[in-house]
Amino acid sequence: MIVTLQEAVAEHVHDGDTLALEGFTHLIPHAAAHEIIRQGRRNLHLVRMTPDIAYDQLIGSGCVTRLTFSWGGNPGVGSLQRFRDAVESQWPHPLEIEEHSHAGMATRYAAGAAGLPFGILRGYIGTDLPKYTSTIKTVECPFTGEVLAAVPAINPDVGIIHAQRADRAGNVQIWGLLGVQKEAVLASQRSIVTVEEIVDELPEVPGAVVLPSWVVTAVCHVAGGAHPSFAMGFSTRDNAFYKAWDSISKDRDAFIAWIDKHVKGTADFAEYCESVGI
């Protein structure tokens, strides 16, 4: 249950898998994304509401052939350069996209977590999204006749999140902005959770949710593993890194050099931290 991140990725993440590395600005599992790049996974279908730097790195590294998402940007900074390059110029190869709204993606994860084949929402009406996204359909209310948007459940092969704590049995505790991380884990066939610390007993924390060990496949101790994102109670968001990423990622060669040096050129997250000086 409690293994190294290398072991967890080696065992549970396969070429061609559908992965959701979730995190809504808070608790983004960057260390896990790096390990997937290091282990050279290919043909991944990535799913996430808010693909940001971690997904930019995976896309630029050629791991990804398909992306399902609702907002792909560098929050507070601007574009995701590698994502744009993949969509606009097919570099390093074409990226198929499936595009939704946040409300639609949240509904899809919730349906996946609930074992339903689809979910319903008042959504997408009057927008161009249904023209290009085949996974937006409609369903009629059998009571009122109203027509609502219907979206299929998301059930990734692997759900990957970063959390604050686990106990030695593998029960996971997470607090602060919770995003769709609980749903992502519950909707997935397998799940990997990196945590800031592993403790004997989980102390009570206001606003915390607990994921029981029996819905988690692997827990990995990776302190700081969300960086440049943050873990409430352990770190703050490294806004400077988000801004710096814009120039690192703008140029293909600069991006490759950065990945080669700091991700592929390091053995694990601890070496990565040393390499980038955090």
Binding site: G73, H102, Y132, R237, Y242
Partner: protein
């Protein structure tokens, strides 16, 4: 009289509108990061009846002491009355009609206040791939009213958006009703040059106020459709010292 930028003018005017809405009981404001968040946080500091800030990251009644860079800054969660999951914020709060004002921006805005934040050019072979929809489609559909804040230019204010990411008035008056949308749609578009509102007869955006020192010709030149003006087009009030000092202190923190 104080010096100020056109961005400051835009933000101050948006904050004033939010303040007036809050005073009229329209307090719940669903806020995006960037210009909307800046204006909403300014309004919170300027007016005795504060807007209630709700962020799509699940923060309800957030009272940040400094401007968040991202929608998920720790500051937002720590200063909120309640933090809920993302599925909940969209289902129980936005979709259920609990939001008075959706506060949006975008890359393109058209004459019926539809917004594009998806692509410039064609969807299949975009000239520029933008971040995408985020929360905008359902904010634009379900919020009681929508306020838009955007820097004005002929490239951004277009006759028809390359992609309709979120709906304003669709192809004109009556479309929202035909679609069965529950929210009232965009009521105010605040730019760095002017304030626009939908013409009650056509729902096409028309200029209802100009910022100090801005001419009709400047606004027309910065608009990609044949722009019309309301019968009376007053000039918005100059930003006050208090407004500017508060805004600058907020941005410096």
């Amino acid at each position: 009289m104080a010096e100020y930028t056109t961005d400051e003018l835009m933000i101050v005017n948006a904050a004033r509108q939010l303040g007036a809405l809050a005073a009229a009981g329209k307090r719940q404001c669903f806020v995006g990061i960037g210009l909307p968040s800046t204006a909403a946080n300014l309004a919170r500091r300027l007016y005795p009846i504060e807007p209630v800030l709700i962020y799509e990251s699940g923060c309800i009644d957030s009272k940040p002491t400094r401007l968040p860079l991202s929608i998920g800054d720790g500051e937002l969660a720590e200063t909120s009355d309640a933090v809920v999951s993302v599925p909940e914020i969209f289902a129980y709060w936005l979709q259920a009609g609990r939001i008075d004002i959706g506060f949006l921006s975008g890359a393109q805005l058209d004459k019926f206040a539809n917004i594009n934040s998806t692509v410039i050019g064609s969807y299949e072979s975009p000239k520029t791939r933008l971040p995408g929809a985020g929360g905008a489609p359902e904010i634009a559909a379900s919020a009681g009213s929508v306020m838009v804040i955007m820097r004005q230019s002929a490239r951004a204010f277009v006759d028809r958006c390359d992609f309709r990411t979120s709906i304003g008035y669709g192809d004109g008056k009556g479309d929202r009703e035909r679609f069965g949308l529950r929210g009232g749609g965009p009521k105010w578009v605040i730019t760095d040059l002017a304030v626009m509102e939908p013409d009650p007869d056509t729902c096409e955006l028309i200029v209802v106020a100009l910022h100090p020192g801005i001419t009709r010709e400047q606004v027309v030149a910065a608009t990609g459709w044949h722009l019309r003006f309301a019968h009376d087009v007053p000039t918005t009030a100059e930003p006050t010292e208090i407004e500017l000092d508060t805004l600058r202190a907020l941005q410096a923190a």
